[in-house]
């Protein structure tokens, strides 16, 4: 799953620390989300979407894996 979190966060002029504090997660979690190393729970995805007043699909992009 890809996401536009870093792009959206930077557009809002928010630091990782500030976003982490607002969402009550660690800064490392925000970093991992932005790098695509960690996929959030549905609850955290909703919290992020609500924080930026966007739909989940506008932030997280689900790409179906191609079957071999």
């Amino acid at each position: 799953m890809n996401n536009r979190l870093e792009e959206i966060r930077k557009k809002h002029g928010i630091k990782q620390e500030e976003l982490a504090r607002a969402l009550e997660v660690s800064r490392q979690t925000i970093g991992s989300l932005e790098n695509g190393r960690y996929n959030p729970s549905i609850l955290l995805a909703f919290k992020i979407a609500r924080y930026f007043e966007l739909n989940i699909e506008e932030i997280f992009i689900y790409e179906e894996e191609e079957k071999e």
Binding site: R21, S26, T29
Partner: protein, 143 residues
């Protein structure tokens, strides 16, 4: 507030157990068998409970003096990624433990050790497997 009262109570109970243990070690010369081990057990338990209580007291005092740091600590503890990491590490350790216990069980069985000890190992292994099965069934029903 309730947490700090419990911590003070734990520290007091721990200190009490420690004092009782030390008293019986110094005075109880004629204790035999299991009774002779009780004072040492009391000292050990007392130390653990006292340490736990004191740790909680220090943590509560530090939290009240630095609420920002306490909030950060709380966030780190509840962070879903940290919890996921801890759970994955525990799952890996469980797989390794199951493998190691079965290997150990096999090794001690062919070494011909005391049957009671062998049964104790086997029961521990069986208990762990049953515990896993119980929680698997419980979570299956819940989710």
């Amino acid at each position: 507030m309730k947490k700090i009262h419990t911590a003070y109570l734990l520290a007091a109970v721990g200190l009490g157990l420690l004092a009782i243990g030390v008293y019986f070690i110094k005075t109880g010369d004629d204790l035999q068998g299991l009774l002779a081990a009780l004072p040492y057990l009391s000292v050990g338990l007392g130390c653990v409970i006292f340490g736990h209580g004191m740790g909680e007291i220090v943590l509560q005092h530090a939290s009240s003096r630095a609420p920002e740091a306490a909030k950060d600590l709380e966030i780190e503890k509840k962070d879903e990624r940290n919890i996921a990491i801890a759970n994955r590490a525990k799952a890996k350790a469980y797989d390794m433990m199951i493998f190691l216990i079965s290997a150990l069980l096999f090794a001690v069985a062919i070494m011909g050790i005391d049957l009671m000890l062998l049964l104790l190992f086997a029961f521990t292994y069986f208990f762990v497997i049953m515990y896993t099965t119980y929680y698997r069934y419980k979570f299956y029903k819940e989710m």
